[in-house]
Symmetry: C2
Subunit: 387 residues, 2 copies
């Protein structure tokens, strides 16, 4: 087999065929193999049945330069991968075993032969699988060499603009840079842009990626998240640290979800003092100092209440900055004036208070996540721009 290397991923395990386990290994391997320059041509899932494993491995090695299997390596009688591989390789001993830094079963590596692709046999638990795949990359490179099409990528994280508005602006700009393509990877917190160059030298790839990044810079700037993880929480934590500011929260509709996100990483306590989850009106009054008159006049979901919650959080925790959020996450509770998805969110900094009302799409979970993200982004921009 010659030409660009293609790969096939085989996932093995009865639990997958019963739908009991969601297969995240395949997508992870597909992404890594594509980045490594051996894009995946097809993927398959089979049960813990020796003949099925043997058939699938034999067939895949006849079609692809590289076959990667995961699963079915445990110590129990259920696990039939090694027996199936033995049948498919006519009992050959692996050309190498790569020790498992996070478990017992090593990776088994079989070199390619004339009409037979290379074979990498990995265990199923994702922590072990990912570590062993990375440890096997040098062997894949050594064996497939220049049949791997080099791929270089650069990811630019954005937030606050949907894919449907971002893509039509970005796509023609990237199309103007020969040799670069772009993928849009959306989730509830934003859209990542992945710029990609294939088959170029490192220096040429860097030049092309720089050119594409320059071409889209003006469009992307207002929405870009520059933290390495592309996460607004990391960007906000860094921006607060840079100014020596602390943060406290006043949450209603998000129920504590923003605090949960602020503390996902260790070390949050350097800037995050805490928050009040004020689900009831009484809690908004007693713990955040929102006045009964404001609640009465404007309603619990209103800009004055959101602002008062942010300022109340600042006071309660003696913080420099505060975030307030109140809204109608649904499915009930909407009105004509304030439909489900209406969320008011405020950011208080030493410079003052900013409040916004947003209408967020989706179910209760989506409204809570999207509005929480918008509230964090609003605060981030204010902290970044503070003098």
């Amino acid at each position: 087999m010659t030409g660009i290397a293609r790969s096939i991923v085989l996932t093995i395990g009865d639990e997958l065929l019963l739908g009991r386990t969601l297969d995240s290994n395949s997508a992870w391997l597909a992404d890594r193999l594509s980045m490594l320059g051996a894009p995946v041509g097809r993927m398959g899932t089979i049960g813990d049945v020796e003949e099925d494993v043997a058939d699938a491995v034999r067939d895949a090695r006849s079609r692809a330069a590289l076959v990667v299997t995961t699963g079915g390596l445990g110590p129990t009688a259920d696990d039939r991968t090694l027996a199936g591989v033995a049948a498919a390789t006519a009992g050959r001993v692996p050309d190498a075993e790569i020790p498992n830094p996070r478990g017992v079963e090593p990776a088994r590596w079989y070199e390619p032969e004339l009409d037979t692709g290379a074979l990498l046999v990995l265990p199923g638990p994702p922590r072990e699988m990912t570590a062993l795949f990375e440890a096997s990359v040098p062997r894949i490179r050594a064996s497939l060499g220049d049949r791997l099409r080099t791929v270089r990528t650069r990811t630019i994280a954005t937030t606050g603009i949907p894919e449907s508005r971002l893509a039509p602006k970005i796509q023609p700009l990237v199309d103007g840079v020969d040799g670069v393509d772009v993928a849009f990877l959306p989730d509830l917190h934003g859209v990542d842009l992945r710029l990609r160059v294939q088959g170029s030298s490192e220096r040429e790839a860097t030049r092309l990626l720089d050119a594409a990044e320059s071409a889209i810079a003006d469009v992307v700037r207002p929405f870009r998240l520059t933290a390495p993880s592309g996460d607004v929480v990391e960007a906000l934590t860094d921006a607060l640290l840079a100014r020596g500011w602390t943060l406290a929260l006043g949450e209603s509709c998000t129920g504590g979800g923003i605090g949960e996100r602020m503390t996902v990483r260790a070390g949050a306590s350097r800037v995050f003092l805490g928050g009040v989850v004020a689900y009831s009106n009484e809690a908004k009054q007693v713990l955040l100092g929102v006045s009964a008159a404001t609640l009465e006049e404007h309603g619990a979901v209103s800009e004055p209440v959101a602002a008062s919650m942010a300022e109340g959080a600042v006071r309660a925790f003696a913080a420099d900055c505060g975030l307030g959020i109140t809204g109608i996450a649904g499915p009930g509770g909407g009105s004509e004036e304030k439909p489900v998805g209406t969320v008011c969110y405020a950011a208080a900094t030493p410079e003052g208070v900013v409040v916004t009302t947003g209408r967020f799409r989706g179910d209760r979970d989506a409204v809570r996540r999207r509005s929480g993200q918008a509230a964090l982004v609003q605060l981030l921009r204010l902290v970044e721009r503070a003098p």
Copy 2:
């Protein structure tokens, strides 16, 4: 083809081979097909390539009584499923089209032939796919009839005991009831037991499932969650409602995650008043009334502080019940006496306060989720048993 019907699931789309999209359709279909009595024998993923689709569909129909494809049906030129299916069926018109309640593309249904399984072609977006599959079930039943092995299941949710301790107690008891098997489905919040009977009449299946449930009742009782969703939050909300009690939280290491869970469902405000996320020691003192002496003497991660946080939440929100939690989620901050994973959690009810110290395994996220679950379960049991 005769005998028990087997099925094959084919997922179609370039984005899956690039690892950009996690395939949740396959697991959902595998579960539903298994419950319908046509268990999945293998699954495959292919790109938007007409010949690949045609090959895979042809091959699958020669192996299985039922083939279900998802994806590749959109209006764009990328989507090649219909062309591939046309090639695989020699241009036959579908025997039926099932209208899509949530989108544009209908499901296409091809009846089985002599050596060729039935074929159901579904769109890829999960909301549309699931609705169309359900709408197609009557056709599958009519066509495959008594080759479907009837399957009936009953799920029993447990929490507070790991699979490794639960399975050895449960398995022999279920093995004692002929015709019933059990699967253990663990996640960070607990272990679901799925009891299953195949190939029996409805009445006989009910009798067998009742017998199995009785056999394991004594072992399961202390760990069982009886809410329909199997979620401790639903069980706790119901138990509080039944007594007319309200709840407030004092969270430290979970950062707001317990409040976020308490408010996942609409209507939480009937029992949930709110919480304080007291990440700093000052916040624990000022907002929850934990005394400086207690913090000094026992440290922030200690049973007296957890108890004081639960009582402080009760006072601050004028609630009937309170939950306090403080711990070391890691990765840093552990000591010999209090290693990473040490979490103290307290439940306050009108009957008094109970505090527990747990050691939880896993990374920061796992420690936070497991300890939050344990804290909710402790409170649930106290509320359930209250006179």
